[in-house]
């Protein structure tokens, strides 16, 4: 996709404040197509319905956590190519290893800054050749 700003994001976090922050930051970076989900189950249903190009997900969530969501995305032939960026307070070595092994494209530790989000997104786009 040539125009990055046309990408549609799904922001997954059980805290509405955090979803709102990420949505606003994405908007500031030019990404206006943003939808939200409060846990992995809702996110997966939305992703399966189609139309999303990028997932930004928290780790700790009820029903289905971020790692389970990531694994479910990677296991689904229709979704497995979706870039997934984790934004989470889980910052132990084993968390990062698990996320990388499950196929996360990026990992941001909370608390984070607008610059960090921009930087990580840019790196992912670069890697994917977007």
């Amino acid at each position: 996709m040539a125009d990055k700003t046309a990408l549609k994001f799904l922001v997954v976090d059980d805290f509405p404040t955090m979803r709102r922050i990420v949505r606003n930051l994405l908007k500031e970076l030019g990404f206006v197509k943003v939808d939200e989900a409060e846990d992995g189950v809702i996110a997966l249903a939305k992703l399966k319905a189609g139309g999303f190009d990028f997932v930004v997900s928290d780790w700790n969530m009820p029903n289905m956590d971020g790692l389970q969501l990531l694994k479910a995305v990677r296991a689904d032939p229709a979704l497995k190519h979706l870039p997934v960026l984790m934004i989470t307070a889980e910052a132990k070595k084993e968390n990062i290893i698990a996320a990388a092994q499950a196929g996360a494209h990026g990992y941001i530790v909370k608390p984070f800054t607008a610059a960090t989000l921009s930087d990580k997104l840019e790196k992912i786009f670069e890697k994917l050749g977007v």
Binding site: F15, I21, E28, A91, K92, K110, F112
Partner: protein, 190 residues
């Protein structure tokens, strides 16, 4: 909600402990029945009542020990968590205020510029600066997420983890910084 489920599952040990405590309390509360039975035959029942009272005392003692453990161990953890919440909220408030003050300063400068000979470039610069400060104020609100997770942990410590999400926030000591995470990821993804 599966929050509850996961909390119960993940916190099986503390839940089991509190269940033991609860069942002990229930057992204590369920004791009056034998006493009624003893009242029917006062003479013969005295020994049994004494024995019941002894076992009641034992159970009360056990329960008290359990409560003692709870109040001896958890308040420290809860106090540390709540201390963290206080620190986070204070930092967020400081950050927000500082950013708002800087934004107001830029507004004042821009208004001054408008009063004199104003340039599009200066105004654009001021507006961009104000925008950045507003973004920082927005991002500072993420403390709500982190504080919320910390409060869940505090509740978990207090209630015995029956209704609280597992791992409501990472333990401070083992957390990696963003830089360390980047280095680790780079190695893993290479």
């Amino acid at each position: 909600m599966s929050v509850v489920k996961r909390g119960v599952k993940a916190a099986a040990k503390p839940a089991a402990k509190s269940a033991t405590r609860l069942s002990t309390t229930r057992a204590v509360a369920a004791k009056p029945a034998p006493r009624r039975a003893a009242a029917k035959k006062p003479g013969q029942g005295t020994g049994r009542v004494l024995s019941e009272l002894k076992s009641l005392a034992k159970e009360l003692n056990k329960a008290a020990k359990g409560l003692g453990k709870t109040s001896g161990g958890n308040p420290k953890e809860v106090s540390a968590i709540l201390g963290n919440v206080e620190r986070m909220t204070a930092e967020a408030a400081d950050k927000s205020l500082l950013e708002a003050e800087n934004a107001k300063q830029l507004v004042a400068t821009a208004r001054d510029t408008l009063g004199k000979e104003w340039s599009r470039k200066d105004l654009d610069l001021a507006l961009r600066g104000i925008g950045e400060h507003l973004t920082n104020i927005m991002v500072a609100q993420e403390f709500q997420d982190l504080a919320g997770q910390a409060l869940r942990r505090a509740m978990k410590a207090l209630v015995g983890a029956v209704i609280v999400v597992d791992g409501g926030g990472a333990a401070e000591g083992q957390r990696l910084s963003q830089k360390e995470v980047d280095v680790l990821l780079k190695g893993l993804m290479a």
